[in-house]
């Protein structure tokens, strides 16, 4: 850690009249790693080597798929129960973050759509619950059939169908903000 003597602390007043301190410190990382620049070519080579992890992903995710289906059942019975919904949404959110990271962007797309349904869907509407069930089934199928990348024709077809269903449950006009991420 840096000693206090190395810091420059300036007393300031913000435009709102509130005082604050601006603390500047020598950039030690520049001396340690100043030669580094993000290199898209190197990054692409690393990404290409990810195939090892991509091949392992369906096996790594199998347990999570079981958890997702298990979380769906109590949610279907009592969708108004906040902790039940949160448990379900947490697993869906994990799929959203992990799928694309491991070369399964289709998993991320379907899970993103599922997260939107769980955040903004009307659980009293049977079509919403049916759509959520179909999203869970889609994730199960993508993992079981190892549909990496965009999943080819099958993947695109699946995505198109789910998008229509999502839009029926969460119309774009009513929820423009959430569609930014779809």
């Amino acid at each position: 850690m840096m000693s206090d003597e190395e810091m420059k602390v300036r007393k300031m007043v913000g435009p709102d009249g509130h005082p604050y301190e601006l603390i500047e410190r020598p950039n030690k990382l520049l001396a340690k790693a100043g030669g580094f620049r993000a290199d898209p070519e190197r990054a692409a080579r690393i990404q290409a080597k990810l195939s090892v992890l991509r091949d392992r992903y369906p096996d790594l995710a199998a347990e999570e798929v079981v958890k997702l289906r298990a979380a769906w059942r109590p949610f279907r019975e009592t969708p108004s129960d906040a902790p039940t919904t949160e448990r379900f949404a947490t697993i869906a959110h994990d799929f959203k973050g992990q799928g694309g990271s491991f070369g399964y962007p289709l998993v991320t797309q379907v899970a993103t759509s599922l997260c939107i349904l769980l955040s903004y869907g009307d659980f009293a509407a049977p079509k919403t619950l049916m759509t959520i069930d179909l999203h869970v089934a889609a994730i199960e199928a993508i993992i079981a059939e190892r549909l990496a990348g965009d999943g080819g024709n099958k993947g695109r077809e699946l995505q198109d169908q789910l998008r229509v269903l999502l839009e029926a449950c969460c119309p774009r006009q009513a929820t423009p903000e959430i569609w930014r991420s779809v």
Partner: protein, 185 residues
Amino acid sequence: MSKSNQTGLEKLKVLVVDDHRNMRDLMKFLLTGLGVGYVSTAPDSAAAFGEMRAFLPDIVFADWAMEPLDGLDFVRLVRKASDSPDPFVPIVMMSGHTEYSRIIEARDAGITEFLAKPLSAIKVAQRIENIIHRPRPFVRTASYFGPDRRRQTKNFRGTERRAPPDSLLTESEINALLSGDEDDE
């Protein structure tokens, strides 16, 4: 690593905090591929706090969704706890939550960079480059301690507006946080 293969990160120490082992493995893979010399991992915030003392990382990548303390709690602890190993350490928050309100929440906790999932080598590299070459001063107010929350943005065209309406950040600044993009100035 042969000299021709060096990237400049050989002396860098990076700590990865994520409760999912496969995500820790993935980050280790990406960071090692980028040439980071030392990578350590921790499965939760409490372990990470301890590891910070022993490992003294230069940069921390922390996942948001963890239990019992989530990534934001971890950031607040590092920034504000009296026994923090390094309140100034750059922290990159990794998350699939990319809604404006979430990004603002992370920024207000004191993150240095935001890394939206899915992860990729180029996104990780860009965050590291920002931290090394474009550090921001720290700010201490009555309610906040962390990197200056305003950042320069480039290539912005059009009317500057804040989003959402009660935010300190402009829409372009939020997009800059999401993309890791900013000026060299």
